[in-house]
Symmetry: none
Subunit: 222 residues, 4 copies
DNA sequence: CATGAATGAGGCTTCATTCAT
DNA sequence: GATGAATGAAGCCTCATTCAT
């Protein structure tokens, strides 16, 4: 998988940044450290000032890259969903059997954070997304355009999964909803297994994958 | 159902408030309007100042009821989850068949917001919970005790549903996780059907209830 | 000494209180606890609200005794200086030899806090006075009248000591200043020995008494 | 003496400020005006808001220089004690006779406020210190580190004076305490002569200097 | 182009006091 | 006479952003 990751270059909507954070070390530091800080203190308490201090630069410098913290956040989320969608597409494109496709897709969703790519800490970003995603997808903060941008990335991901479901059973009516449940469910499950043990039955990665695989299969086979 | 609601009196942890908001009209206005405002502007932008303005009182007056906005929020969430749990318990207690219990329970979860009780707008509160719940359950703001309080209320609700699942199939291993998926799923689904139509297949209330009923049954019957 | 204390009844300027704190248990609790709280948190952070909480009453109740915190404070200080002056007068009135008078007077100043009388904790009150007295004696907070009241009490105490000095050497020109140095010095010394060990040479009570006795004698004998 | 002052550059602990107030006109105005305001209204009523108004800037600007009013205050005090210590050291370093050293040192302590250096009003700062020093040295507001910083500056000053006393009589046991009395005494005396005439015998500067010189000499000669 | 300084608005919270019962 | 509720002002501090160099 790592080999794949090396070659991926995610294109995020250019309206989200003023200067491409990938174009400089400082930009990369902004991305990397915002993930750390948002995880650490929550979105509400994350500010450009604190980010600036943590990477030993000034607020104004960060403003050269992102207009405000919500655009930065939208950038992160867009990037994340596009990244996973890309991964799902690439990884399953060579598989013919739709059931195997599904199985592999679930594996990716469930194990994605194990890969650490340089630009940011995937595991923390995923944690942020779990905690903040609903908020962001339905946010009143973002201009419709931007919020749509993140939404679109997430929606695309759902579509990919939904497509696989339909390949298995082309008559299934609720593929999109099921895809949505699957994605949110896996994330929540992983999160709960780690941070809210009481809320989840004890499962390891493989159990989770089987559980969700069965959840889908049992429903669409009917 | 309304008859039942009239008789319910939810007890929330007394550490969450300084003065019981139910003990005065002002207190009730605080509760009622915070739900409106949080929905309107999001938790992050909700402040006691704005709340005070909207009910034509002063910040300090609100501080006589709640120590800070996070305690107010925790109050709302605790109240909500306790309220639903209560409803689930009462409504299903007279049903013997576990499958019918499940079916009725799903109905409650899916239709609860239709009842409007005086003190607050259930539908909006539910919307807030969908959007902000992850954020709140894992908040860094709250002392562990308080966050546990909300968590406990939610956990109890999951336990009730999980108990019903186990009544249907006492060997099923992942009842708690499934309960969790069911609750979160129903909420999300309703939300998406209303606000994010793209993310969900078109379903009406009854479709949702059937869908989730099948989701559970198909899995635990195996 | 305790026998003496029992019979002392200090009269404080009646303008300082609205209702005599000695006239009720609540009043006594106000006095007793304000000393504890001011010591604990400093005058600046001491408020009627906190005092009310600590004695489980309400702010308005305290307002029935004292118009504001500065009058309460002035009450405490006035009381304290009058109390010591009284003690000095009574204790030395039966001594004829002025040098012995001085010696005994120093002993009182240096050991006064050892006696605990019911109404308040003398040791803590003294600590407060050391930390806050300059501030209060020269305060811009108090109406001139009230500040004068405390000042007058302190001044009277200085006069008593100064009188003794003059008895020893009636030609000594700076008796008042020396009395002032003596009183402030003893207090500071005790305080430093306890809380700022670096600032003072290690001395026990007896050393301090001897030191100050010599300080006075060596100067006025010249 | 003025010639000396011009060349003195006092180094204050860098943790006390965020931005060196000496590095800008605004910074200097902050220092200068805080002294005026604290004197005018007392430390308790001195706020950054009022300071900002008096120098026609905003609170946030002041926060760029000092984290809070207590750090600003600590800065002033540290600066002051370091300044005087410096002065004592420099001025007495060329004198060989310890008695003359003492005499000169007392002169400095008693006349220091006559010099007005640009950055602040020494006389007022000294007044503040007299009124607020005990309060500050034993403040509960400051972290131990910072309060130690001021304390250390004062302690160093005492050490310098104490050293001179020991030069005069190397067997004298209470040099530190005597130094402490001397410094506090001179300050108090000056203050009383000016603002509390009743508390002090009428003395001019020269009288004060003689009085304290004798106070020391008479005690240590024994 | 990059950076440090500045700033107005607003966040959260407590204060001191008054009012009504 | 005692108490609980209410409130406007202010305290302390941070935010998001703009300006000037």
């Amino acid at each position: 998988m790592k080999a794949i990751l090396k070659n991926i270059n995610i294109e995020v909507n250019k309206n989200l940044y003023l200067k491409d954070p990938n174009s400089s070390d400082l930009g990369k530091a902004i991305i990397y450290n915002s993930v750390l800080l948002i995880d650490e203190m929550g979105l509400e308490h994350f500010t450009f000032r604190k980010l600036a201090q943590s990477i030993k630069t000034t607020e104004s410098t960060i403003y050269r890259y992102f207009e405000n913290k919500h655009k930065l956040l939208t950038y992160l989320l867009s990037w994340y969903f596009k990244f996973i969608e890309h991964l799902v597409v690439i990884s399953t494109s060579t598989i013919d059997d739709p059931i195997e496709k599904l199985s592999f897709c679930i594996k990716i969703l469930s194990r994605i954070e194990e890969d650490n790519i340089q630009i940011l800490n995937l595991e923390l970003l995923q944690k942020i997304i779990i905690v903040e995603s609903n908020k962001i997808l339905h946010s009143k903060e973002l201009s419709k355009d931007l919020s749509l941008d993140t939404f679109e990335a997430y929606n695309q991901l759902c579509n990919r999964v939904s497509d696989i479901i339909i390949m298995i059973n082309k008559d299934y009516k609720y593929a999109k909803s099921l895809a949505n449940i699957l994605i949110e469910g896996i994330y929540n499950q992983k999160f709960n297994c780690k941070y809210n043990k009481l809320l989840a039955d004890s499962m390891n990665k493989q159990d989770i994958e089987e559980f969700y695989f069965n959840l889908v299969i049992n429903n669409i086979k009917t």
